[in-house]
Every structure is written in structure tokens, then in C-alpha cells.
């Protein structure tokens, strides 16, 4: 089985996406590539490769530092770092680059883009290359390995990993006089607490759910579906499988909270939830490490695993990838060497310490520097431990975007009280069937 997942939508990244998207429309209509970087040439005896990324802020700064280190140590194989305008539109940019014949050697891409880009004839197939001893492929977390695999072919190297955990506002729990969440909370515990934290007159909500019908809506539902023992598609990825008792349980829980208890703030997809969490209006979030840096210093928060269904606390993870594209054998070799170096335990741990991103390799947690990481980011410990609760991975299909849209509509209709869970499952299942048939 294979893995996909539109990565968590970071607030800042998301903003950037809008501009990029309009540019992308222009690119289609214009049929002229929307400006990728100029490809690095092999001038002056050495090789220069282009690496495109969409990191901003601290992550961008640190990546630049690391590229500088590489360039200083490897004068004959230089790396030229190019900002692609934001990771949310990396796929569109890369594809436009191929149309224009002007594409990077290495591109940072969401795991969800893996299946689309796997079709690209220029893509470097890494299946044999990762077997080399210096790569130590098995050191990557299993969910990352799966996310990088499309139809048995390894298409990228894990660049970043995260997962959903429960983040709660300590002060609000104290005010309401209820016990704070634990790693062994049940769905019922979660629902009860959310209800107690809700106050219609002060506009306080227990939980926030991104209900824009995007993958942001889908992946929280998926975690619940998997906990309840269900899955999105059948094992062969040919048919929908979520119209099941597990799907019903998950949607019913969402309905009970959003419609019956009205304890959920339904975010329309503009990341208002984070500002509201900062203002003490929302008690709990299901979110990832990327949001922690945006939580105000005066808001004291705790982190636990997601509430579980019959003891299953499974979460969902979003590995992103460095994908490589062929220009020439020397450039491909350089690209591979550079990515190997960048994602090696020692180098990536530096990155993690600087940015608060989670380790991408298991062995990073055994290095001495890891203690520095934990000291600097105490809340991250739960997220790192929660990586072990990642069991499933989204289907790595080129048509995943369509499947996601259908499931997003389904969840949205239930959250808005426009459909009963059982009916929504039926129509959602039918929509996914036709999405799968259309491929």
C-alpha cells in the first residue's frame, strides 16, 4: 500500500498559496510557464544543481544556512537554492516548470503530490538508489517510507514529518474546573469536555474543526475513521470502504459535537481557529507541531495524543518529500548526494533544533543533540512519541485530490447539519466511486 497526504496547511504557507494559485491560473491560460528558476548549468568545471523549496521564516533561514555549509564543503558541486513561492503551490510550480522545460533538480513537495509527480518521465526513480548503505532507508519512520512509495517505486526522500495531536489551553480547563486531557482519553471524554468548555454567551467553544471541505477537513476525519477500525478505500485502492460502521461512528461523533452539542467552532478555512485559540475562545485543537510557534507566549498549553476509540489512539501523519528530476547524470548524482546529506541524522537534527520540526529519522532521537531539541521544544516530545501512533497512510493515488474533495464534502455536510451521517456516507461513497472510475 502506498501513502499520500496533502500536508498540513500551515497558516503562513496557505496565505502564500493564494497568490501562487492565481499565478498558476495565468500559467495555464497563458500556456507559458509561470516562472521557475533558471536551471543551474554545469559551468566552470563544476556542477550546479537547483533546489526549489517553499519554506518561509525560520525554516527558510536554516535551510539557507545548511546549503551554505554544503557549498563551502563542496566547491565543485554547488547547490543553488530557489524559493518557489510557498509549499502549498509547489506541485503546480513544478508541473508548470516541466511544461516550460525549466525544472529544478530537487524540489520540496507535499507527500500528496508524490503520486502526481510519479507520472513525470523526468523523475528519478530512487528504488535502487536508497538501498545504498549510506542512505540507511529503514532509519526513516515507516509512514515516511510509505509516503515516498508509489506503486512500489520510491519517488522521493522524506524531508519533513508531522502528525496530529491534541493541543489544549490549560487556563480554560482550570476555569471550567475539569480535568485536563490525557493520552488515554476516549471520544466520550473529549465530547464531554468540549461541551463543558462551550459557552454560547461568551462565544467559547470546546473544539475547532477546519470545515472548508479541503484535505484539512478530511484528514481529521481519517484519523477517527482509522481509530474506529475503518479505512478510506479497499486494500487494492479500487473501491471506497468508508461507508462502514467505523465511518458511521466517526461521522456520528462529529455530528454529536458540532450539531447536537454545538461545541465546535467551524473554521471556514482561513485559519481563524489559531487566533481564536490565542484569544482564549477555543479550548482544544487537533493540530500539528507547525502551529505551536504561532501560539502566543501567554497562552499556556498542553499536548496529548488524540482521544481514542476503544483504546486506539491512532493519528495521521504528513510526510513531505524531496523529489529529484533528471537533467544529466552528473547533476542527478549531485542531487542525490546533497539530499542524502541534508536528510542524514546529524544534519537534519541541526535543522530540527533550529526550527522545531520533528526528527525525520528514528536515529536522530538517539543523538546527543536530541536532548537540546527536547529542552528547547518541550511540547514536541508528545508529537515525536505520537509518530508511533501513525499506522495507516493515505492512498498514494494520482486521483487522491478528487477522492479528498468528495470526502471533504461529505464531512462538511454532516458538520453543517445538512445531512445525516448514514446518508452522507452513501453519497460520499458514490462520489468516490465515480472519482475512482474516472481515472
Amino acid at each position: 500500500m502506498v501513502a499520500v497526504h496533502p500536508n498540513p496547511l500551515r497558516a503562513r504557507r496557505r496565505r502564500a498559496r493564494r497568490f501562487a494559485a492565481s499565478a498558476a491560473v495565468v500559467a495555464l491560460v497563458a500556456g507559458v510557464s509561470a516562472a521557475c528558476s533558471s536551471s543551474g548549468g554545469g559551468s566552470g568545471g563544476g556542477t550546479t544543481i537547483t533546489v526549489s523549496h517553499g519554506y518561509t521564516d525560520i525554516e527558510a533561514t536554516e535551510l539557507k544556512v545548511q546549503v551554505k555549509q554544503w557549498n563551502a564543503a563542496h566547491p565543485s558541486t554547488k547547490v543553488n537554492l530557489v524559493f518557489n513561492g510557498g509549499n502549498d503551490s509547489a506541485l503546480q510550480k513544478t508541473v508548470a516548470g516541466f511544461t516550460a522545460g525549466n525544472y529544478p533538480d530537487v524540489a520540496y513537495e507535499y507527500g500528496s503530490s508524490a503520486a502526481q509527480l510519479a507520472k513525470q518521465p523526468k523523475l528519478l526513480d530512487l528504488t535502487d538508489k536508497v538501498k545504498a548503505a549510506d542512505v540507511d532507508w529503514s532509519d526513516f519512520y515507516p509512514s515516511e517510507q510509505q509516503a515516498a512509495t508509489v506503486n512500489g517505486k520510491i519517488v522521493g526522500v522524506p524531508a519533513l514529518v508531522d502528525n496530529l495531536s491534541l493541543v489544549y489551553n490549560k487556563a480554560l480547563f482550570a476555569q471550567a474546573g475539569i480535568a485536563v486531557p490525557t493520552n488515554s482519553w476516549t471520544w466520550q471524554d473529549f465530547r464531554t469536555a468540549a461541551k463543558k468548555l462551550t459557552n454560547a454567551s461568551t462565544r467559547n467553544y470546546g473544539w475547532a474543526y477546519v470545515n472548508d471541505g479541503s484535505e484539512d477537513t478530511v484528514w481529521r476525519f481519517l484519523a477517527m475513521l482509522w481509530q474506529a477500525g475503518g479505512d478510506l478505500l479497499t486494500k487494492d485502492n479500487k473501491k471506497p470502504a468508508f461507508d462502514s460502521s467505523a465511518g458511521l461512528a466517526a461521522l456520528q461523533q462529529l455530528r454529536d459535537m458540532a450539531v447536537t452539542d454545538k461545541s465546535v467552532y467551524l473554521d471556514t478555512g482561513n485559519d481563524n481557529y489559531l487566533n481564536l485559540f490565542n484569544s482564549g475562545k477555543i479550548g482544544m485543537l487537533w493540530t500539528g507541531p507547525w502551529d505551536l510557534s504561532s501560539i502566543n507566549a501567554n497562552v499556556k498549553y498542553g499536548v496529548t495524543y488524540l482521544p481514542g476509540y476503544k483504546g486506539d489512539h491512532e493519528t495521521i501523519s504528513g510526510p513531505d518529500l524531496y523529489m529529484m528530476f533528471d537533467h544529466s547524470s552528473s547533476r542527478a548524482a549531485t542531487a542525490l548526494k546533497f539530499v542524502n546529506w541534508l536528510t542524514s541524522a546529524k544534519v537534519h537534527l541541526q535543522f530540527a533544533i533550529a526550527t522545531g520540526d520533528l526528527p525525520v529519522r528514528k536515529s536522530e532521537t538517539t543523538l546527543p543533540g536530541y536532548q537540546t531539541f527536547l529542552k528547547k521544544y518541550p511540547a514536541e516530545q508528545v508529537f515525536v512519541a505520537n509518530l508511533d501512533n501513525v499506522k495507516h497512510i493515505r492512498p498514494n493515488l494520482a486521483d487522491y485530490a478528487q477522492i479528498s474533495t468528495a470526502v471533504g464534502q461529505m464531512v462538511q455536510s454532516v458538520m453543517l447539519g445538512k445531512a445525516q451521517p448514514a446518508d452522507a456516507l452513501k453519497s460520499g461513497s458514490a462520489a468516490v466511486t465515480s472519482a475512482l472510475a474516472g481515472s
Partner: protein
């Protein structure tokens, strides 16, 4: 009331006739002079022609070609004839997007026109600080759509928004706006009207200021009220301006995208999925570039037809010697 009728019929003949170029003078030195003129002309416009060709015509042709292909922008394209168009004809989501676009256009265009006209009339006065008012009305036009989108999602937030909180204070019912499938499209209309009234007002204001003041004075001497003069003299004289705005606003509303992208992303439950947003979704989320191109071609034809019809209807009858 003879004044308004005459004014409407002859808005451009206020210039003394002799100043208008006569055909006989020009035909004197045809031949070589004409050819050099033509060459100079082409040389001068060649940069624009080149730019418009590369960024305008070529893409249009390419999109047209693309619409007959199955193309994911990555693997080699496949010719499939009219398949995309046939599929489009039976696509309920596309039909829904057309419906949303039409509802939007039917609301957005007239509301914006009327409000722009009223704003222009209000701004066409000599009062203290008028520049400030004019700038204030125009500011939404130069504000980035993204910023507008973010501000409106907050203003119209059902729980924490300023608008609902004001409504609540005065005891009126509150709304769900962007989060309610039955209201989201209207919320988008409200937001875009706000963004476009400044533009319409600017055009109308220019039109109003181009109307000779003696016409208004004459009307007032004849005993016409200010309001009467506005509706019976100024508004009819604004016909060409109104026609331009009508076409411009209609084209823009048929191509609505940014505002939807910045606020609802086509939701909730596809209630704001307009044609161009659907096109975007097909092209850049699902990578059905051929299918998306066929949507673009259909939209292109629709806009062309609507524009031609509108131009005919809004043409000044006096210019062509009568109603066409």
C-alpha cells in the same frame, strides 16, 4: 422637455463642426504617404502586438488545442476529439457552477452599477474635503483581494464578526455568511460589490464631469429640480459610460475567481463554486488540464456572445442613426 432629448441625441456635436477632419482632405495624398504611415504605425505598435500575441493570442490558441486533448501537463497528451465537451455537457458540477455564476452576475452587476452611480453623484460636488471622500470610495479598488478576503471573513464571522455583533446589539437576526451554504454566494456578492463600487464611481464621475454645465444650468432655468436634472439629463448622457461599465462588470463577474479563492474556496458544499473556480479545481487540483481548457473555451464563447449583445444594446442610438 426638449432639452434632455436633444442633449441625449447629440452629446458629441458640441465641438464646432469645422474642427472635425473631413474625408476629402485626407484622400489628397494617398499612395506612398499611406504606406509609410502604415509602416510607422506598425513599428510603433509592434511591442504591444508582440506582447499581446505572446501573452494573449498564443495562450488562447493553445487552450483551444488543449481542450481536444486528455492532458495532465506531465505525460504525453492524447487527442480525444470532442470528448471533453461531451463530458462537460453532462457534468452536474459544471451545471451547478454555471448556475452560481449566473446568480452572482445577475446580482453583482446591477447592484454595483446603481451604487456606483449614486456614489459618483454624491462625489460630484464642490464641498470641503471632497478629495478625501473620493479617495475613501476608491480605496477598496486598490486593496488586494486577499486582504479584502481576510477582512471580510472576520467581519462576517458568524460568531466573532463585527457585523453580527452589531446586528445582535440592535436586536436583529444574525447570519452565517460564508459558513452557510444558503448565504455564502450572497456574502461574496456583498464583498465584491464593496470592492468594485469605487471603480464604477470613478468612471461615472469622469463621465459626469464631462457633461457641460450649461446643460444643467439651462435645465434649472427652465425650472427643472436638481434631482430631475440628474435623472433626466445626466443619467441619459452617461449612456456610453454605463454601457462600458455594464460590459466590463459583466465580463469580470463571469470570470469571478480571486474573491472566492480568498474566502470560501468554492464552499461550503460547492455553493460558491463558480465557473472559473471549477476550472481551477479541474486544472490545478485534479490536473485535468484538457477538461479545464474546454471549460475555458466554453466560458470564452459565452463571454464573447454576452459582450457583443451588451455592446449592441447599450450603443447610443444616435451614433448609428437609430435603434439597431
Amino acid at each position: 422637455m426638449s432639452v434632455p432629448v436633444r442633449a441625449r441625441r447629440r452629446p458629441r456635436t458640441i465641438l464646432p463642426r469645422p474642427q472635425q477632419p473631413t474625408p476629402s482632405k485626407r484622400s489628397l495624398r494617398k499612395g506612398t504617404r499611406n504606406r509609410t504611415d502604415a509602416l510607422t504605425g506598425w513599428a510603433m505598435i509592434s511591442p504591444s502586438v508582440l506582447l499581446i500575441g505572446v501573452f494573449g493570442l498564443v495562450p488562447v490558441v493553445w487552450a483551444f488545442v488543449l481542450s481536444f486533448q486528455r492532458n495532465d501537463l506531465q505525460t504525453p497528451a492524447k487527442w480525444i476529439g470532442f470528448s471533453n465537451y461531451r463530458q462537460l455537457a453532462h457534468d452536474p458540477a459544471f451545471r451547478e457552477s454555471i448556475r452560481n455564476t449566473l446568480v452572482y452576475t445577475v446580482l453583482f452587476v446591477p447592484i454595483t452599477l446603481v451604487l456606483s452611480l449614486l456614489a459618483a453623484a454624491a462625489l460630484n460636488r464642490r464641498i470641503r474635503g471632497i478629495t478625501i471622500y473620493r479617495v475613501a470610495v476608491f480605496i477598496p479598488v486598490v486593496t488586494s483581494t486577499i486582504a479584502t478576503g481576510v477582512i471580510f471573513t472576520w467581519l462576517m464571522d458568524p460568531d466573532y464578526g463585527l457585523i453580527n455583533s452589531l446586528l445582535h446589539k440592535v436586536g436583529l437576526p444574525t447570519f452565517g455568511y460564508f459558513s452557510d451554504p444558503n448565504q455564502a454566494l450572497y456574502a461574496v456578492v456583498a464583498m465584491t460589490v464593496w470592492g468594485w463600487v469605487g471603480f464604477g464611481a470613478l468612471i461615472f464621475l469622469a463621465g459626469l464631469q464631462g457633461i457641460p454645465t450649461d446643460l444643467m444650468e439651462a435645465a434649472q432655468i427652465d425650472g427643472c429640480s436638481k434631482r430631475g436634472a440628474f435623472w433626466r439629463i445626466q443619467v441619459p448622457l452617461l449612456r456610453p459610460v454605463t454601457g462600458f461599465l455594464l460590459v466590463w462588470l459583466t465580463i469580470n463577474s463571469l470570470q469571478l475567481f480571486d474573491e472566492v479563492y480568498a474566502t470560501t474556496k468554492g464552499g461550503p458544499l460547492q455553493s460558491t463554486t463558480v465557473v472559473v473556480y471549477y476550472l481551477y479545481q479541474q486544472a490545478f487540483q485534479f490536473f485535468h488540464a484538457g477538461y479545464a481548457a474546454s471549460i475555458a473555451v466554453v466560458l470564452f464563447i459565452a463571454i464573447a456572445v454576452v459582450t457583443v449583445v451588451q455592446l449592441r444594446l447599450s450603443r447610443d442610438p444616435s451614433a448609428s442613426g437609430g435603434r439597431s
